[in-house]
Structures are given as structure tokens and as C-alpha cells.
Amino acid sequence: MKKISVIDHELVPEHIVLSERDVKSLLAKHHISVGELPKIKISDPVIKEIGASAGDVIKIIRNSHTAGKAIVYRLVID
């Protein structure tokens, strides 16, 4: 039995916790409130592993089929 790290799996894209300043500029850029972002649960294995807390915004760099790289954001919820 070995310890596994889910973020290494090829299905899991890169998750980064966004700084408060970046969150502000992101929301201002798209004219949205933080609640309008897609969600990710705090119990999500990746969130557990990177140690984010509820209310954080996660930047996800997906390997897109069409765009090569696509950046999306998710709000961590309870």
C-alpha cells in the first residue's frame, strides 16, 4: 500500500488557490459576485490535498480539447 496523491493523476487539472487581490480583479473584470462562480466542495479530494478553505476561489488550468489551455474558476463551498 502506498500513499497516493490525486493531483498527479492525469484526469486532474492544476488547481491553484487565488489570492484575495486576484479574486477582486477577476470579479471586477467579469462584473459578477463571487457566488456566481461555479462551485467546488470543500470535501473534494483535490481541495483537501491543496488545503483550501471555504470561500476561497480556485483557479483551474484545464487541458482543453479545443483551446489547448483553458482557465476556469470555482468557489469553494461547504
Binding site: 500500500m1 479545443t66 463551498i77
Partner: protein, 418 residues
């Protein structure tokens, strides 16, 4: 052609002919500067710096970079190319207020009519049955907790290059019950269960007779007499009922391997061994020594969500749906599937498309009523005193108002002159 023309204009400018033809000196200098830029050859460095700042997807930029590095062009040609591409990209984008969901539904639904109702085999692994075709697609969009044929594809770490080692690992993983290890006979006159273990299989699966006996003692809490490779088991009380119950109990014990993995098939694919399993247990398998924890997959999307998270589940939905469609020879643009996968995973958990998911959680009462269980929705809404804001398409079609799509979503205001 452009360069040769540019060169001619340039030479004309040099001879001050432009000045003679009533153009000011400053304007002439500007023309000269512009034409010099036209002639300047774009170096790989300038191409890169030009491309890096562009508002284009990474894949387009990368393709462009590869192509541009192969040819020799001037800086103005580079500008032309880049501008043309940005223009084409902007035009290819979906218009604001376009009903992309309906387009996705049509684009998946139409080829879906050509899918087989039941396909039950797997290209390549003939020994394992897999649900394919329409039933599988329905399974994916319905976000079923357990697929009807759960399958895992286990990739192995680089060290596993010879068949015996791989087969040994497969034996570690595959579930072994008493029926796998030997014969089970019920002696009714003696009121006992006789378990005749097969030596060859025990060696193959690396289980000792003692282990089997001990396991039965622990799990069934019963006395087991050992006679060489024969195990004799008697129920505590002499009754047929108890005897038969005991048989069932012993049959259900897993002696080796993972409970949910019923079968493992070893295959060689492109110089590496891959294990296919009937039944899934992603979390346990990933922790196994020798299993490549970065490439091992399952077709159970729910399990992927639990073990690897919501983003992995989204990727799994896309790849599973695309594979199912492609296997049937249908080419559906991945963007439609991506939209479906995005909708299914926006709330942080995998939701189904239908009644208990996206369609059932719409804010509008009329929209929900138009989908399924009309009376229930209208009645509940009336009891609660719900308000429909009439923001969606369906609601407005029902009440006979212009729908808010495309140009219909634009409201014009007139600013009167003071």
C-alpha cells in the same frame, strides 16, 4: 507581390519624388518609415513576442508559432497574418445570447438516433462485456451511481515488463472466493461441509491452507478441522437450515484480492501490459504497489468524483461520452459534450441532466412544468405562492412573449437630446 510593390514605393520615396508630388516632407518620412517596417524580416524572437500577448487560445497560438517559424516573412506580413487570424477567431466565436444548450441537445440527439439500442461487447478485450451505444450514453448523462458494467483500466509502473510479474499482480487484485480455490461439497449424512482446496491454485494465488482455515474461523465464527488440504466444517447445531446458511456464508468470504474486482484480464498494448478488470475499486487499486496511480482509470464517473474530485469527473464525462459516440462511428463536436459536462458539474457535484438534476432545479416554475410532471410542479408552485420572473426561453414561449435570445435579449434605450 506585396514586398516587391513596397520596395518600388520605397525607392520612389527615396528619390524624393513624393515631395515633388505635393506631399509634405514629414508625410514622406512617415511613408519611408512605414515602408522600412514592411521590408524588415520578422525574427523568431519578434514572432514569439508578438504572439505571446494575443487574446487567442493557447492551441491556436502554438500552431501559429510552429507554422511561422518555418517560413520567412516580413514584420508587416506577420501583422497581417495575426490580424486575419484574430478576425477569423472573433467571427467564429458563439454570438452573445445564442442558445447553445439547444444546439448541444440537437447535436448530440440527432446522431443519437442512429446509435444501436444494445451493444454488449468491447473492441479488443473480448473476454469482458461492456455496455456501449445508447444505453451507455444515457447512463452517463443520467449520472447513475453504478454503471451496469463497471470496468477499470489499470496501467502499470515501468518495472512491470514481463508477463509473469503482471499476472502475479493480477492475482493479487482479483477476488478469490472459496469456489475459486477448490471444491465445496455438502455431506448431508455427516452434516458437514467438505472443502477440498486445489494445491495448484493455492500456490498460484499464494494462499496457505492455514490462511483459508483461519479466515473461515474469523469470518464465520465456526470451528474448522484441517486434514491436509481438506477443510471440514460443521455447523454448531445440527440443522439443515444452519448448514445451508453456513455454505452461503463461506461462499461470500473474500480470501484474497479486492472484493469488488470479480475478474482481471491481462493484455499487452503498445509494449506495455494493461489490466482490465470487471468491477471497480479505484481508491484501493490506486494504492496498490505497481499500479500507475496517474493513468489508471475507471468508467464509473461517480467513483472518479469521489476519489479524484469534480474536475476529474468532468474530464471523465467528456471522454466517456466522446468514446461512446466515436465507437458508434458518430462525430459529435467535443464542445457540445463539454457544455453538458460543465452543466453537470457546476455545483461541485455530478448532477444528472434530467428530472433530478439540471432540468429539475431550474428556477422557473413554467420551465419545470414544461419538462416533466407538469401538474405536480404547478400545484406545488401554487401552494407555495412562487413567482416566475419569465427570464428564460420556455416560460416566454408559454406566455406568448418574445423570447430573450439573440437580438431578443437586447433592450434599447433612447437618449433624448436636451
Amino acid at each position: 507581390m506585396k514586398t516587391s510593390q513596397g520596395r518600388r514605393w520605397f525607392s520612389l520615396a527615396k528619390k524624393d519624388t513624393l515631395v515633388k508630388t505635393n506631399i509634405s516632407k514629414a508625410a514622406a518620412n512617415k511613408v519611408v518609415r512605414l515602408l522600412e517596417a514592411t521590408k524588415k524580416v520578422a525574427t523568431p524572437k519578434t514572432i514569439d513576442s508578438k504572439l505571446n500577448g494575443l487574446a487567442l487560445p493557447a492551441s491556436i497560438i502554438e500552431e501559429l508559432r510552429c507554422d511561422l517559424h518555418k517560413i520567412e516573412i516580413t514584420e508587416s506580413q506577420l501583422d497581417d497574418i495575426v490580424n486575419t487570424i484574430i478576425d477569423a477567431y472573433e467571427r467564429a466565436k458563439v454570438e452573445p445570447c445564442e442558445a447553445v444548450g439547444v444546439i448541444a441537445a440537437q447535436s448530440i440527439g440527432e446522431p443519437g438516433t442512429q446509435m444501436t439500442m444494445r451493444t454488449f461487447h468491447y473492441a479488443g478485450v473480448a473476454e469482458i462485456n461492456v455496455t456501449l451505444g445508447l444505453p451507455r450514453l444515457i447512463e452517463i448523462v443520467d449520472a447513475r451511481k453504478n454503471p451496469s458494467t463497471p470496468i477499470m483500466t489499470i496501467k502499470l509502473e515501468p518495472g512491470y515488463a514481463d508477463r509473469d510479474k503482471v499476472q502475479a499482480l493480477a492475482w493479487e487484485i482479483q477476488k478469490a472466493t472459496i469456489l475459486h480455490l477448490g471444491d465445496l461439497t455438502i455431506n448431508l449424512t455427516e452434516m458437514q461441509i467438505v472443502c477440498d482446496l486445489n494445491e495448484k491454485i493455492l500456490n498460484q494465488r499464494k494462499i496457505a491452507v492455514d490462511d483459508v482455515a483461519q479466515k473461515i474461523r474469523d469470518m464465520a465464527k465456526i470451528e474448522v478441522h484441517q486434514n491436509n488440504r481438506k477443510l471440514l466444517i460443521r455447523p454448531k447445531n445440527v440443522s439443515y437450515r444452519e448448514l445451508l446458511q453456513l455454505v452461503e456464508k463461506i461462499k461470500s468470504i473474500t480470501f484474497k484480492g479486492i472484493e469488488d474486482i470479480r475478474r482481471v484480464v491481462v493484455r499487452k498494448e503498445n509494449d506495455e501490459y494493461v489490466l482490465y478488470t470487471e468491477g471497480t475499486a479505484l481508491k484501493k487499486i490506486l494504492q496498490f504497489d505497481g499500479v500507475d496511480a496517474t493513468r489508471t482509470k475507471t468508467n464509473n464517473i461517480n467513483e472518479i468524483e469521489e476519489v479524484l474530485g469534480i474536475e476529474a469527473a468532468r474530464n471523465a464525462i467528456i471522454s466517456e461520452a466522446m468514446d461512446t459516440l466515436r465507437e458508434q462511428g458518430l462525430e459529435v463536436d467535443v464542445r457540445h459534450i463539454m457544455l453538458v459536462a460543465d452543466m453537470m458539474t457546476v455545483d461541485g457535484e455530478v448532477k444528472q441532466i434530467g428530472r433530478h438534476g439540471i432540468a429539475g432545479e431550474k428556477a422557473s416554475v413554467l420551465s419545470r412544468a414544461a419538462f416533466e410532471m407538469t401538474v405536480n410542479h404547478l400545484l406545488d408552485a401554487a401552494v407555495r405562492g412562487d413567482v416566475d420572473e419569465l427570464t428564460g426561453v420556455t416560460e416566454n414561449v408559454i406566455v406568448g412573449q418574445p423570447i430573450r435570445l439573440g437580438t431578443g435579449d437586447i433592450t434599447l434605450t433612447y437618449k433624448a437630446k436636451k
